[in-house]
């Protein structure tokens, strides 16, 4: 508990697969921005997580 908690990326959703490479988390490809936001939001709701925008076509889903 407290303000310094372990944060964890649970997924990456991207419209530009050039921007991501293999890593520890699942990467979801989306056709357009709309689909990416929708997928990210669905994952976030399932995981109780928050969607963050990297402003390069990638969305991070992070559990805080």
């Amino acid at each position: 508990m407290g303000p310094l908690r372990a944060e964890k990326i649970v997924a990456v959703v991207t419209t530009d697969k050039e921007k991501v490479t293999g890593g520890g988390v699942p990467v979801f490809l989306a056709g357009d921005r709309q689909e990416a936001e929708n997928t990210a939001l669905l994952i976030a709701r399932i995981m109780g997580a928050m969607v963050h925008d990297l402003e390069n076509g990638c969305l991070l889903v992070v559990v805080h």
Partner: protein, 310 residues
């Protein structure tokens, strides 16, 4: 008046004053109290015991019953348990609060509960001592008239509003970044979540009046207490698995001002400001640095201890 009846008067008056003190302190500060009826009963019972122990101390000494004084020590041990009791209760509830109090606030509340019993004991002791030593019941009444207002005045320490100005502030987005005024709060990735925030959230800025208030406000425990108080006053739209409406407080590194976003159920800015300003200044935040280490009015500075605390 015989010695026996004098002692009796002393004990009775002392007990009454001590119990009255506890009753008084139980009622005055809603924020220090979870307002559970059964808790009222147990705290009044403890207060009664504190008053009784305090009231008999001086008469017992006069009767040369020195062992009776050791009961004071015994009672003190009991009251330490009160602190544990409060802490345990509040910590157990913490997991199921949408906006938790935070460990610092809980510790503060627990200490207050313990110390209020000592105050009740002190009131009882002073009043019974006055009665017995002066040798007249009116001396006890007189002492009570002095002691009770004094204890009442000890009921509340400083609040956030004493060292900072709270004002409403606009929330805005720059791309995915949420700002309150000029203070960055968080990155919000989707349009749907940004809409939620625009619909439900409200921004506040808390600006320290002097630089000495900066690290008190910056203390993470103090920030959490403020968020809890505002939420306690206004309710929250926050939801367990939807973190975008999470109440949060972030600091502006240049000025030490806190930017706050909450999602109040009742959108009443005046109440939000009052709740934030009336949040007690926590002892752990207050005592975070020695006076000599932080000259007042030294201007913007980053304290080395900031990162380590919390």
């Amino acid at each position: 008046m015989t010695v026996q009846s004098l002692l009796f008067h002393g004990i009775a008056l002392g007990f009454a004053a001590g119990f009255a003190a506890r009753l008084y302190l139980l009622r005055v500060d809603y924020r220090q109290y979870p307002s559970l009826p059964h808790n009222h009963v147990s705290h009044l019972a403890f207060g009664g015991i504190a008053a009784a122990v305090g009231a008999v101390a001086v008469p017992a000494l006069l009767e040369k019953e020195f062992t009776a004084v050791t009961f004071l020590a015994l009672a003190a041990t009991q009251f330490r348990e009160i602190r544990d009791m409060e802490r345990t209760t509040l910590q157990a509830l913490e997991a199921y609060l949408l906006v938790p109090r935070g460990a610092d606030y809980i510790e503060g509340i627990a200490v207050v509960f313990e110390s209020r019993n000592y105050l009740a004991m002190a009131a009882a002791l002073l009043v019974s001592a006055a009665t017995v030593l002066v040798g007249a019941w009116w001396a006890g009444v007189l002492a009570a008239l002095v002691v009770l207002p004094w204890i009442y005045s000890l009921r509340q320490g400083k609040v956030v509003g004493d060292l900072a100005e709270v004002r409403p502030a606009a929330l805005r987005f720059e791309g995915p970044s949420l700002y309150v005024d000029h203070i960055f709060l968080m990155n919000v990735g989707t349009a749907a979540q940004r809409e939620q925030i625009e619909k439900y959230s409200m921004g506040l800025i808390i600006e320290p009046r002097r630089s000495s208030g900066r690290d008190k406000l910056a203390h993470p425990g103090q920030r959490q207490a403020i968020l809890h108080e505002v939420t306690a006053a206004l309710g929250t739209h926050q939801e367990i698995a939807e973190p975008e409406l999470t109440a949060m407080a972030r600091k502006d590194a240049d000025t030490g001002a806190l930017g706050i976003v909450v999602a109040p159920f009742t959108r009443d800015v005046a109440v939000a400001i009052k709740a934030a300003a009336n949040t007690p200044l926590l002892e752990s935040a207050r005592g975070s640095h020695p006076r000599w280490a932080a000259p007042v009015g030294a201007g913007p500075r980053q304290k080395a201890g900031d990162a380590g605390r919390g």
